[in-house]
């Protein structure tokens, strides 16, 4: 099969002559609110451009007929329509030709961005002479393809660098940035902002009066030099490449290909650059990394619906209450207020409350400074959170989130107080990372409305919430918690109750195993370094130091209590008892006194271990244990699906995204993983014994 756009029935775009002076190309893909670019739309756009060329208007406006969206970019189903690298390179060339044709029109062309224009959508806009955007808080523009393991392949790398200069283009493309309208204006990605109601007119006026233009390559002489002067450009590219290798450790092939395409295109001209872009796209789009990242993307976008599957319909609550104004409580309160909920936050005294409300203000102000929240809206966000030292305001709450210290007795006591202070139809969610919800709810008057809601810290940066469902929990109660977490903009997985649920359980096992390796002679820094080289964001021992040994020990104890798992001796407990606290106390697995952390020799002493050689496959081994534990959770019914397991591990625990998640990793490794686990089980212990579905050779994704 080859890519023959001319043979595809066009649909989704047309040329409208308008008043004959300024014509319009309108994108309106049927049954798709975000105007994803698919083959029929590409064909239709070719037709529309040809019509515009024939009509010879004085100006042309490229617009979307969808409310509040311009175009979200290529329809990712393209990748299955054209599965080979050669076809995808051809598809990229077709898009490039389309953009070239728009750019070559004799009239002035203006893209009217009534909403977000991302990836291929923004590349279409880039092909126009000018871009006018609606001044709305939701609008985003950018070329975030590298996030999916791809690169902008409709001329985006070439045109953006020529428009705003190489340094800024690198920052935008490699950072996969999505800029708000205001920031896009400042960065030069759009030329004018207009009130949404007058956007069409602004675009019309500019198409009529504006000139064709030659992109300048940035605003400052420095930017232009880094774009067009060879030695300066070489320096900029070299620096970017060095930074890139440090950040991605070579696990992500797309960003270097962006650099290549830019280096070629700026040195040898646009056609050469486009050629490099198209080739890179074909190769990247068929790579495992892109497949895995795209699979995760699909999982994430579908999760909103998937998370509430099998549950009754529920609205997100309007009035919520939070117990505990600490780091977690204030983070949850702030997130809820951002989502438009009215929040009542409780803590025991004025000082704690003042700190918590101060934290809400600080988080919101920071988000506003970064452009994530509009300035006036940020004042309303802050105003939506009120504080109290009693339980006033709790009787109106539809959902109460308890975020007090992780201690069973305390959580039970607070639950008792909450049952007295809330309505009978309010749902009480306990934020805990490990304590079984059923145990917290023991003795509750109405345990059927108690649900676990495991937030990750810091709340405003962590995109996952693990909703924990006990056997007694009423479906409507679970549904309300899921709806609330979805409203906060997090990705939600629903798991069965049990020690450590899903995420803490598998993480705890892996951390325990890492300490176990130390006892067998591995070196602290080697273990961590191997894991970060493998793609984990932070090494397991450094992670224990981050969360603190007391917390890690507590989670570890809880997880070890999980039936049927022969966790190794709890080394963390040993260190905690010896007075090591972790990073906050200055000493854990590392010493944090100096400018750089150094391994703590006392750890070996306490463990009675002599640091010798670290096994070369330590990262693979720990990852295999982690994956095996995840599969066991699916086998036991803790997880509802492999997709939930992948999302939880990647979004909550930092499992390397380019591997797609533990289940996708298991699929990819197949029999080799099972062999490896069996060998480890024989040499290191039964905890490596492959989970039933792994042993049976089951594939988790088709």
């Amino acid at each position: 099969m080859t890519v023959d756009i001319a043979s595809i029935a066009p649909a989704g775009a047309s040329y409208e002559p308008g008043d004959g002076v300024v014509g319009r190309i309108v994108i309106d893909r049927p049954n798709d609110s975000v105007n994803s670019i698919d083959p029929p739309l590409i064909a239709a756009l070719f037709g529309a451009v040809a019509a515009a060329r024939a009509a010879r208007p004085r100006g042309l406006v490229l617009a979307s007929a969808k409310p509040d969206t311009f175009s979200g970019g290529a329809d990712l189903k393209l990748l299955s329509i054209w599965p080979s690298a050669a076809e995808l390179t051809e598809a990229s060339r077709a898009m490039q030709r389309l953009c070239d044709e728009i750019a070559a029109l004799p009239c002035t062309s203006v893209a009217a961005l009534n909403g977000s224009a991302l990836a291929g959508g923004y590349e279409l806009a880039l092909a126009c002479d000018w871009r006018v955007a609606a001044d709305t808080p939701e609008l985003r523009v950018g070329l975030p393809e590298v996030q999916l393991g791809l690169i902008p392949a409709a001329g985006g790398t070439q045109r953006l660098a020529r428009l705003v200069g190489l340094p800024r283009a690198l920052d935008l493309i490699l950072g996969a940035r999505r800029l708000s309208a205001r920031r896009a204006l400042r960065a030069g990605l759009v030329d004018e902002l207009a009130q949404p109601a007058v956007l069409e007119r602004a675009a019309y006026d500019r198409a009529l009066k504006g000139a064709k233009r030659e992109p300048a390559g940035g605003r400052s002489a420095l930017e232009r030099a880094a774009t067009f002067v060879a030695p300066a450009r070489a320096l900029a590219l070299r620096q970017a490449r060095a930074r890139l290798m440090k950040e991605t450790r070579g696990h992500y092939p797309a960003p270097p290909r962006v650099l290549d395409a830019l280096a070629i295109g700026l040195a040898r001209g646009m056609p050469a650059g486009l050629d490099a872009e198209a080739r890179a796209f074909g190769e990247l789009a068929t790579s495992d990394v892109a497949r895995n990242l795209i699979a995760l993307f699909f999982l994430t976008t579908r999760q909103r619906r998937a998370s509430s599957e099998g549950l009754p319909r529920a609205d997100a609550p309007r009035d919520v209450a939070v117990v505990g104004a600490g780091l977690m409580g204030s983070g949850i309160a702030q997130a809820a207020a951002v989502a438009g909920m009215t929040v009542r936050m409780r803590d025991v005294d004025d000082a704690a409350l003042a700190r918590g409300l101060g934290a809400v203000r600080a988080l919101t102000t920071e988000a506003s400074r970064k452009g994530a929240i509009e300035r006036r809206e940020s004042a309303r966000v802050i105003a939506r959170v009120s504080g109290t030292t009693d339980y006033s305001g709790f009787a109106r709450a539809e959902l109460v989130i308890e975020a007090v210290f992780e201690e069973l007795g305390l959580k039970r006591r607070v639950l008792g107080e909450l049952e007295a202070a809330t309505r009978d139809d309010a749902v009480i969610a306990s934020n805990t990372s490990a304590l079984p919800i059923a145990e917290i709810a023991t003795g509750a008057r109405r345990p059927e409305r108690v649900v676990g809601m495991h937030f990750f810290s810091p709340v405003h940066r962590m995109p996952l919430v693990e909703v924990v469902r006990t056997e007694r929990a009423e479906p409507w109660a679970v549904a309300r918690v899921v709806a609330a977490a979805n409203a906060l903009g997090t990705t939600v997985i629903v798991v069965r109750d049990g020690p450590g649920f899903y995420t803490t359980r598998i993480l705890g096992l892996m951390l325990g195993e890492a300490t176990h390796l130390l006892e067998q002679g591995a070196r602290i820094e080697d273990v961590d370094r191997a894991m970060t080289a493998f793609g984990w964001p932070v090494g397991p021992l450094a992670l224990i130091d981050e969360v603190g040994l007391a917390v890690a020990r507590h989670a570890g104890d809880t997880v070890a209590a999980a039936a049927g798992i022969d966790a190794p001796r709890n080394a963390v407990a040993l260190l905690a008892e010896a007075g090591l606290e972790g990073k906050r106390g200055g000493a854990g697995f590392y010493l944090y006194g100096g400018r750089r952390r150094v391994p703590n020799p006392r750890v070996y002493e306490l463990l009675g271990a002599a640091p010798a050689a670290t096994p070369p496959d330590v990262a693979e081994r720990l990852t295999a244990l982690f994956v095996n534990a995840a599969v066991r959770c699916l086998d036991e019914g803790v997880l509802r699906s492999a997709g939930d397991g992948d999302l939880g591990a990647v979004l909550g625990l930092g499992f390397p995204p380019f591997l797609g998640g533990p289940f996708r990793y298991a699929d990819a490794r197949g029999a080799a993983l099972v062999e490896r686990l069996r060998a480890l089980a024989a040499s290191a212990g039964a905890r490596y014994e492959p989970a039933a579905s792994l042993a049976s050779g089951r594939r988790f994704f088709s």
Binding site: R318, D319, D350, L353, A354, S386, T388, S392, G393
Partner: protein, 413 residues
């Protein structure tokens, strides 16, 4: 018949102007009182129909403070809101308007109240300069813009503070109170005694928790403001007697000690239809039984109008003064309170049992944020009626311009 009940009311601490709330504008204070009233009355904001709010010294930025509260708190934008004004009785108007809307059936749940930031009074330009600025902004050419200012003299550049004098008499509030003290022969010592009583009872009200229950903490800049700051626990008759008269230094009786002080604060009351309050299972309901406004010639006794509003409100309620078990009377000046007692008696309305008046102190000790005071007296009265099981109570507020308000409340079974 439909009637409105008070489902709860809360206020911010009343704080000396220019201190803890100096950099909080009136909207922040109003929002704080309103958000807490919603929370503490356990009322979802989606169930509110309307906000009516009073404010006297209005910032130029807020043409309609009430609506700004809705928007600032992110309440449902469908809540319509209006701002009302009757000087110091503004919040009374807010509350009786709200009660009327509920009684005639146009609303079921209304937030009413008032706020004042006397730390942030709007300072304006002289009328001449203001007109010149408007003319300049409308002029099209630079020379014309410049010529708009041709008649401005140096003296026109001085800023103008909000009026403290009655426009019709030219007398300040204090001078008017001196006049009332003179007409009714109210001596300095009687005024100081009333003032002392106000401070003592306010202190007692805080000490036994009754006032604390209706005052909500305001968290600002990582700190908290919890209490009223005007109350002088250590004051004595001797100390009050040692203060010099402020308005008439030679013959006067009005001092800083027997007048209400400049105050920042806000108070909000939740009014519901009785039907809805009962459906929600709320208890301790206090209904608006009747109310009346009256007005007098400002040149006579500026602050005496409540003495005329009271008999009308009583007759509308079908009650005699003796049946009123508790009275909350705004204390603009001790002289004004004592004058009111005298005039009521002289006019045959009856003698008020002073032991039933301002049992937790009044504006002299608690402070007087103009726009908020009406909501404070109604809240305090309703709460104390509940605590004592008093069937009927009355709140009165006098206002600049010669207006006065009286509201009769009834504790429902």
């Amino acid at each position: 018949m439909r009637r409105a009940v008070i489902a709860g009311g809360w206020r911010t601490p009343f704080v000396k102007a220019g201190t803890d709330f100096a950099d909080a504008d009136v909207l922040e204070l109003a929002s704080a009182a309103t958000a807490e009233t919603l929370a503490r009355s356990e009322t979802p904001s989606s169930s509110i129909d309307e906000i009516v709010y009073g404010n006297v010294s209005r910032p130029v930025a807020y043409h309609n403070l009430a609506r700004e509260i809705v928007l600032a708190l992110g309440l449902p934008t469908s809540i319509y809101a209006s701002s009302v004004g009757m000087a110091c009785a503004s919040a009374c108007v807010a509350i009786t308007d709200a009660a009327d809307h509920i009684a005639v059936g146009t609303a079921n749940a209304v937030l009413a109240g008032g706020a004042e930031s006397l730390s942030n009074v709007p300072i304006t330009y002289s009328p001449k300069l203001a007109r010149a600025l408007v003319a300049a902004s409308q002029a099209r050419t630079l020379p014309r813009k410049a010529s708009s200012f041709a008649h401005i003299r140096l003296g026109d550049l001085a800023p103008v503070a909000p009026g403290i004098r009655e426009t019709s008499t030219g007398l300040t509030m204090g001078e008017s109170a001196e006049r009332m003290a003179g007409i009714n022969a109210i001596g300095r010592e009687a005024q100081d005694r009333w003032s002392l009583r106000s401070h003592q009872r306010a202190a007692a009200g805080w000490d036994d928790g009754r006032l604390a229950a209706e005052v909500v903490p305001v968290f600002r800049h990582g700190a908290v403001v919890r209490t009223d700051t005007h109350i002088r626990r250590d004051t004595t008759l001797e100390r009050l007697a040692s203060l010099r008269p402020v308005f008439d230094r030679a013959h006067g009786t009005i001092t800083a000690g027997n007048a209400s002080p400049l105050t920042d604060g806000a108070a909000t009351v939740l009014l519901l239809s009785e039907e809805r309050a009962r459906a929600e299972g709320r208890t301790g309901l206090v209904a608006i039984r009747s109310y009346a406004y009256a007005a007098v010639d400002p040149a006579d006794q500026l602050l005496i109008a409540p003495a005329y509003a009271i008999p009308i409100a009583l007759s509308r309620a079908g009650l005699a003064l003796g049946e009123i078990g508790l009275v909350e009377m705004h204390e603009a000046f001790a002289a004004q309170v004592l004058s009111t007692f005298q005039v009521l008696e002289r006019n045959g309305v009856g003698a008020i049992d002073q032991e039933r008046v301002n049992v937790m102190g009044g504006s002299i000790a608690l402070g007087h944020p103009f726009g908020a005071t009406g909501a404070r007296v109604v809240t305090t009265l309703a709460n104390e009626m509940r605590r004592r099981g008093t069937q009927f109570g009355m709140a009165t507020v006098c206002a600049a311009g010669g207006n006065g308000a009286a509201i009769v409340l009834e504790l429902l079974a």
